[in-house]
């Protein structure tokens, strides 16, 4: 099977320079995470260039979410180093939080507040100027301008994901960490997210996208990596790999995708 693998692949984004040919926006070295006696990550080396979209595939329990949580500074690694935009995550948490945006599996919204109140709260916590205007802008972008006066607990799952996306848009991050971002999105909202990823990429935003959805991941990503049992078992640019070879890899590695 013709599928490339490298433990630490560097992005090849034009115009970027660095020790390995790119300026990494995200870099992990020998990253290890143990939860008690269970290893979640067993030495992950990744380097993602500025403006690159990396799709992280892998079965449940492969370590995708753990990797994203470590990059976000929510979980401390057992060993190894993590840098986001050149900032050491463990030592400069506040600096890292200023440049990242996270779309997590849980929507991180308060059920008792309205959609607009959730975003106004986020804007205050982010210290944004013109908060009300910015909130109105992003609500319009995600198509929730009228529904925003309702409490989040009355929202459908798709509306909650849209609102979470609006919250991400408020941040204007340099690095986005997206965990299953297409889950529960209808076609229109999925299209909106795709467009947002493309616009963000054009603006130089780096994205790490953990997903089970091979098709969507393949559509939006510049590069694909597969995590299995806490290790990167595959890492290649989109132009180097066909969907079929990736699918073969998934079958080779067993239980990965169920219905995919």
């Amino acid at each position: 099977m013709d599928v490339p693998y490298s433990g630490c692949r560097m992005a090849r984004v034009d115009g970027l320079t660095g020790p390995f040919g790119c300026t990494p926006a995200v870099e992990t070295r020998a990253l290890v995470k143990w939860y008690g006696a269970h290893p979640a990550l067993r030495g992950v080396d990744l380097c993602v260039g500025r403006g690159e979209i990396l799709a992280l595939f892998g079965p449940n329990g492969a370590g995708k979410s753990t990797l994203l949580r470590i990059l976000a500074g929510l979980v401390r690694p057992t060993a190894g180093s993590v840098q986001v935009t050149g900032l050491e995550v463990g030592k400069n948490g506040d600096g890292v939080r200023r440049v990242i945006g996270v779309l997590a599996h849980g929507h991180q919204l308060y059920d008792t507040l309205t959609g607009r109140e959730n975003l106004l709260f986020a804007a205050t916590m982010l210290g944004l100027d013109r908060a009300a205007e910015r909130v109105a802008e992003v609500l319009t972008k995600v198509g929730l301008e009228t529904a925003a006066e309702g409490r989040v607990k009355t929202f459908s799952s798709g509306m909650k994901r849209r609102l979470a996306l609006a919250k991400l848009m408020l941040r204007e991050p340099k690095v986005m960490l997206l965990d299953e971002p297409f889950t529960n999105l209808d076609l229109q909202a999925a299209k909106l997210l795709e467009e947002f990823l493309v616009t963000s990429k054009a603006a130089g935003v780096t994205t790490l996208l953990a997903t089970h959805d091979l098709t969507l991941g393949f559509t939006v990503a510049d590069r694909m990596a597969v995590l299995q049992q806490g290790r990167v078992v595959f890492d290649a640019g989109r132009d180097e790999v066909s969907r079929e070879s990736l699918r073969s890899l998934f079958s080779l590695h067993g239980e990965l995708w169920g219905g995919e």
């Binding site: 500074g73 401390r76 205050t124 916590m125």
Partner: protein, 225 residues
Amino acid sequence: MIFARRVLAIAWKDLVAEWRDRESITAMCFFAFLVLFLFNFALGGDQTLIRGASSGLLWLAFAFTAVLGLARSVQGELANDCLDGLLLYPAEREAIFLGKLCGSFSVILLVELISFPIFSVLYNMDIWSQLPKLLLITVPATLGFATAGTLLSAMTVGLRAREAMLPFLLFPLTIPLILAAVRGTEVVLRGEAFELAMPWLKLMAAFDVLFLVGSLLTFELLIEE
């Protein structure tokens, strides 16, 4: 300025959520009434006994009740992974702590204020003439209890048995505070000179300062993994 806005935003969010759901306040008020009623019932009609034990019973009711509210302080953020969301803001951890503290303190104080008339009726106490002095005892005691409770709520948030662990850790830690509040309230309810309550008030103030400073210094370590 941004720091203060963040503190107020978190407190506002918690209070709005509480006002709309009224889950904690309803449960806390009912629990306070139940404790006060049961103690009153257990002591029978002996007015001397009731008067002697009333301040202790009042603070037992307040302490038990406050735990219900404090349990939700940080642990309530676990729903929808909101705690992660809160920690992902580029906000000072101290602002998060103070915001949560303001929310908890306000809810507990409100429940205590609602409980005063119930206490007055059940225990046949005229607290209204002594209300300002009573508040001088209640406010610092509640602040200390809320401070320790918010910190411990954050500390136990990652534990499986967090709801059981909170009172288990909180009550032993706040014994000096509860004792001071009981003694201070006793002085006020007996109508004695307020100067006699000053040592207890000072003890509570010292406890408040110690815990507030300690909490601000350690909150970041405790709330992060």
